[in-house]
């Protein structure tokens, strides 16, 4: 029974709509459905993991009323946590790489988060290392550590995955972005348990240029969420998509009325590639967030070459 009245905005997290975007499929025998995670109240798929981590920590006592929260984020997890922290009355600090879009920073400010800058050239890895140091120095703070917290994939195993199975049991391929691996591990595991034939594809950001501050490969990072869930075995394919192609597909999504963030363009580009390769099937993709936080990049309106250059300097995963 549809309900339109809620006690808290946090009750609006999850149960997002799925929309058919098969007009963008290069293969008439392959349908593509996009799950619109921008519908979450904090504006992204990260609401799910953030709420899951907070709820679990409140339950096990590691997060107590009024306690300081610290987390690193390239944006969306920080925004989701900050919104939840605002509603629940926790002070929050977010370590944020300097090269994220201005809107990500502004939204953190809306929710009252204290922003701790980390060098853009170190990317999300650098922000994470700083948060780890601060958390060690302040054991009295709660550090959810999204990259390792089992409540992150669990939120997708218990939420996103079952929603996809309910709304689209004919799914043959699931394609999502690889950031913390929470969505891919949680949804991928759930869907493969229901139907082992479902293929799970990951989409990676083009990390090469973005992290030119890394001193060596030892400073690279594979999230424990990925390895703890046997990610290398769970995935069937993993692709990288560059900024230009990501923006082209972000624009194509807008052509069919889906106003999405740039990482969703990368995922859509991969879905189209997948559709062209397979004979028939039903692809479910994740639209991680709406386009609002990327308006300042001119992604939809400015010259494609210029936007591509700009996007190379901004973390959008």
């Amino acid at each position: 029974m549809p309900v339109a009245r809620y006690q808290s905005v946090l009750d609006l997290i999850g149960d997002t709509p799925m929309v058919d975007v098969s007009q963008l499929s290069p293969n008439p025998r392959v349908a593509i459905l996009a799950k619109l995670e921008g519908w979450n109240p904090g504006g992204s798929v990260k609401d799910r993991a953030a709420l899951g981590m907070v709820a679990e920590a409140e339950k096990d006592g590691s997060l107590r009323p009024g306690q300081q929260i610290i987390e690193s984020s390239s944006g969306n997890t920080g925004i989701a946590l900050a919104m939840i922290a605002k509603v629940k009355g926790y002070p929050i600090k977010i370590v944020l790489p300097q090269n994220v879009s201005i809107e990500r920073r502004q939204l953190l400010e809306v929710w009252g988060a204290e922003i701790i800058d980390s060098p853009g050239s170190e990317g999300s890895n650098g922000a994470m290392l700083r948060a780890q140091v601060l958390a060690r120095e302040h054991p009295e703070w709660w550090f959810p550590y999204q990259y390792s917290n089992p409540s992150n994939p669990k939120a997708h195993y218990e939420g996103t995955g079952p929603e996809i199975w309910r709304d689209c049991p004919e799914v043959t391929h699931f394609i999502a972005g690889l950031g913390t691996a929470g969505t891919l591990m949680g949804v991928g595991r759930f869907l493969k348990e229901r139907n082992p034939a479902v293929q799970v594809w990951a989409v990676q950001p083009p990390a090469g240029e973005m992290v030119d501050g890394l001193k060596n490969l030892d400073e690279g990072f594979i999230p424990p969420v990925f390895t703890d869930n046997d990610g290398f075995d769970l995935l069937d394919r993993s692709r990288v998509v560059g900024p230009r192609e990501s923006i082209e597909w972000t624009r194509r999504l807008a052509e069919v009325g889906v106003f999405a963030g740039i990482s969703s363009g990368a995922i859509m580009a991969t879905a189209a590639k997948c559709a062209a390769e397979i004979a028939q099937g039903v692809i479910v993709t994740i639209v991680c967030d709406g386009g609002w936080k990327y308006l300042s990049t001119g992604a939809w309106t400015d010259d494609l070459d210029e936007v591509t250059e700009r996007a190379k300097r901004v973390i959008y995963f």
Binding site: S74, N76, M128, T180, A207, L217, R239
Partner: protein, 91 residues
């Protein structure tokens, strides 16, 4: 046959700053061997003491992670591009 190998900033010190270099081989393993032969300093970065590929190194053959294409045995053709990237997080 020669293929293009694209390197991230973190590895370019070993190639005199070049972002794209050529290397020969029929498989990913052969291309990496030739790459390290031409740019020996890369060996220390790319390979572990046991001779395996660094766990934080992602190798993409035409944008596809080789882990799902037969790993180091993946076949490489002359129009192909191999892209090396450090593993990074997001979120």
């Amino acid at each position: 046959m020669p293929v293009d190998v694209r390197l991230p900033t973190v590895l370019r010190a070993a190639t005199g700053g070049q972002a794209t270099v050529a290397a020969d081989g029929e498989t990913v393993a052969e291309v990496l061997d030739d790459l390290i032969r031409r740019h020996p300093q890369l060996g220390e970065q790319l390979l572990t003491a046991e001779g395996g590929v660094h766990r934080h190194l992602n190798i993409f053959l035409n944008d596809d992670d080789i882990r799902y294409l037969g790993r180091l045995d993946a076949k490489v053709g002359s129009d192909d591009t191999l892209t090396l990237m450090p593993a990074v997080a997001g979120g």
